[in-house]
Symmetry: C2
Subunit: 204 residues, 2 copies
């Protein structure tokens, strides 16, 4: 990427574009060299921007890391939503949800191996994007349970918040990339076994 000294930060779309460029280059760079070991100077050098220029768009390395993390989690959510969209029943939606979560989580944080350390820092420092991601998934689970109760697929005795929170807890080790690292080798078969168990727990 070339040095772009003619762009004026703070003027609408151009700022947006430059932020995106920095995030894309940083994703690439962290993916190779790791997030924790990279400084903003390293990053600036590799992108071909000055360090001062990067600081016009991001307050800190963490701000860039948070954006990368948020982008990856949004991608996971998009993949989950797409996987659910075509499922004909609530049961199938739950199955597809857990399958997509484990698959997308593995791909997006572990395929580019070094991006995993962004997830580790996000978990350790409780970045808001991670909490938001979990909350969205919790909400999705609740909606699917409601749909399944409506169609008579699922039992209705258990309080809704209890059922959805418990299912969220079963899925959590595969939602959080930092926990997923310990479950990677068995994640695919675990997703099958766990969704079957969840569905047994929901049967009327």
């Amino acid at each position: 990427m070339n040095k772009q000294t003619t762009t004026h930060p703070g003027r609408g779309p151009s700022e947006h574009t430059i932020r995106d460029q920095v995030v894309a280059a940083a994703t690439e760079h962290f993916g190779h060299f790791g997030y924790e070991k990279t400084t903003v100077s390293d990053l600036a050098k590799s992108i071909g921007f000055s360090k001062a220029y990067i600081y016009k768009f991001f307050d800190s390395k963490q701000a860039i890391g948070e954006q990368i993390c948020a982008n990856r989690l949004n991608m996971i959510m998009d993949i989950v939503n797409a996987a659910i969209a075509d499922s004909p029943t609530a049961s199938e939606r739950l199955r597809q949800m857990l399958k997509a979560l484990t698959q997308a989580g593995s791909d997006l944080f572990f395929h580019d191996r070094k991006l995993y350390d962004i997830a580790a820092v996000a978990a350790r420092d409780k970045w808001p994007s991670a909490a938001l991601h979990e909350e969205r998934i919790r909400q999705r689970i609740e909606n699917i349970i409601l749909e399944g109760r409506g169609t008579g697929e699922f039992e209705r005795k258990t309080p809704l918040d209890e059922a959805s929170q418990a299912i969220f807890l079963v899925m959590r080790p595969y939602i959080s990339p930092v926990q997923l690292q310990y479950n990677l080798d068995t994640a695919e078969s675990a997703a099958v076994l766990l969704s079957s168990l969840i569905l047994r727990s929901l049967s009327p």
Copy 2:
């Protein structure tokens, strides 16, 4: 502890006693200073043994760490067994098992905060004691399911190995100390919610 130059390693009970002394002192020392940052020299100095003397009983720092880890996991298993012993039904045994696992895991690895890093190394380097611990718990789960099927508390349609493996997977984030660290703040309520979900999945 004093230097014991008169003991003859390799002669039955005395060797056993000295090994225990080294492990006890090392547990204390690692608990204060961390396992990863401590060398056998540091440890020898703090116990009052020579480094060469410690090497008569343990091949490496890791051998000491593995013994500490195995001891802690055995303590957890004893606590779990005691918690299960008094439960009148298979359902209650499953509940008490998960409760005891989370409680004992938190106490034994996180109360002495620094011992946690032994668990992290054990998980990373796949020490046999961690695998053995998981296998014992998996076996316990299978036995409880069999008991519950015998008394009619649990359904019998799901293949036994599928049901027990799935329940093991639900419990795993609370069994492995390295995963428990991410679930500590919610472990107590999670144990309640998850055992209720497990029991719903087992209902006939």
